[in-house]
Subunit: 325 residues, 2 copies
Amino acid sequence: MNSVAKEPLLTAENLKDAEARIRPHAHITPVLTSSYLDERVGGELFFKCENFQRIGAFKFRGATNAVFSLAPEELERGVVAHSSGNHAQALALAARLRGTRATIVMPTTASAVKVAAVRGYGAEVVPCQPTVEDREQQTERVLEETGGTLIHPYNDRRIIAGQATAAMELLEQVEGLDLILAPVGGGGLLSGTTLAAHHFSPSTRVIGVEPAAADDAYRSLATGQIQPSVDPKTIADGLLTSLGDLTFAVISQLTESIVTVTEETIVEAMRTVWERMKIIIEPSAAVPVAALLEGAVDPAGQRVGVILSGGNVDLDRLPWTHSSV
Amino acid sequence: MNSVAKEPLLTAENLKDAEARIRPHAHITPVLTSSYLDERVGGELFFKCENFQRIGAFKFRGATNAVFSLAPEELERGVVAHSSGNHAQALALAARLRGTRATIVMPTTASAVKVAAVRGYGAEVVPCQPTVEDREQQTERVLEETGGTLIHPYNDRRIIAGQATAAMELLEQVEGLDLILAPVGGGGLLSGTTLAAHHFSPSTRVIGVEPAAADDAYRSLATGQIQPSVDPKTIADGLLTSLGDLTFAVISQLTESIVTVTEETIVEAMRTVWERMKIIIEPSAAVPVAALLEGAVDPAGQRVGVILSGGNVDLDRLPWTHSSV
């Protein structure tokens, strides 16, 4: 009897194409180490600094791959997204670099700094009420008016392929990784990371880390179907969303497991990285570090890649001086 | 008539010896760039990240060179310093690595975190009242009791040679630098940087940057003799001290100039580096960046090295949320 393995969503060739496509635009981000953290957790840690990526987060990779994959007739009409986070800035910058226009639907509750950043990259910002209904209505309207292409923040092959390039680089920069940890929100980064390891370093395991207070991906894997993220209350505001069908398919097929961490450890991990490594990471990026501090993942004797997903933080509202949840 | 140039305090050979001596212990720190800051100031900037150095500051270089220069009989008796800042941690760690003991006289006003860090490296901490008199009295007492060697934080050839290694590395990492900017407090880093450029890249100019609120080095150069730092009130708490005779000799002989910057721009520069480069620098390290933002130095069309001297910050007291001066 033969068991027939399902083809993964994206081939090695797809990922290499994405890497070539974004290469002229994205930074090859450095990998940093910390002897303090190595000693503390008992493994060898390699931190892939996507906080140093353009717009301050890995999201630039996926957005750039998506925008630079568009056909000429699509470029004439531009791209559209709804996002209050890093995807908004990423898509705005990618569109500018490609010479096409971006329209971003952003909730009226989005911070003025973020709205200004998106406009600063030349995108048009369309405000919506902070409800799913109005967001979708405004997005539909913009799509009709512009004929533009909607770029979903994670449930999109081009986005997943773009996010995979972070782990592809990491696997080139550091030999013999036993394990890679990535945070999971909508699953774009985790599914990309998983596919990168699957194709280019099959002996490297990939584990997703999620706040216990937004554990929909964990529950989705446990139950075998996508579970919605219901009223998540976590400081890791990049990880609020639910998995999509594409990201769920990859993660449920190929990711080793998903573990969860407490809010307290996320804040401790964030502060520890700031204090000891002297780099700024956002709460979502601290989530995999928290898994190591908390013992949710045991790195003993292993070489562990940790994807520090971003560094966009409001410096006037730090979690150790303000309650942000 | 011949003009006879004075021999500089340290030879190229002295500096190379220091580099070889600290090599097994100190990090080769990375150089980062920022397209945002390049555009904003109109030059090409190369940031030497001594905030990533061990103990979080360049001070580890000088302390290590000094401790590893000691004779065996000196090692038996250990080293002594008075410091409430980065020199205390640097000397404590260097002594531990060399297997000798360190005794650090620290004012009772020093933060508990800093005292704990120094003790954490295995040094003995001797408290003193926060007055010059008691500090010197306690230090004298410790020196008598232990027979140890006093390691001055900057007015010491071994320290200056050690600090020079940051610029030596930078000059190897980045070709064709027109200019290097370094902060100036006691002048250890600035005189070391100046000597490094003098010996290894004579066409690279070196400018020191100082808070206007602690402009004793600026006044010392202007008057041709060491001016004391009188009641300085600056957020750049690593730059409070006056020049020593050795650092003054080098700086007045070889440094191109010293410029000053306002407190407001120091805070702006610090925050800008945090936000745009996603790295943590302390206020003293922001001082050269402030010179670029403020136009005290014009980098137009130049390749400029900026030594980011350290990243030790109390994350509970940030200058944009608390008044620290």
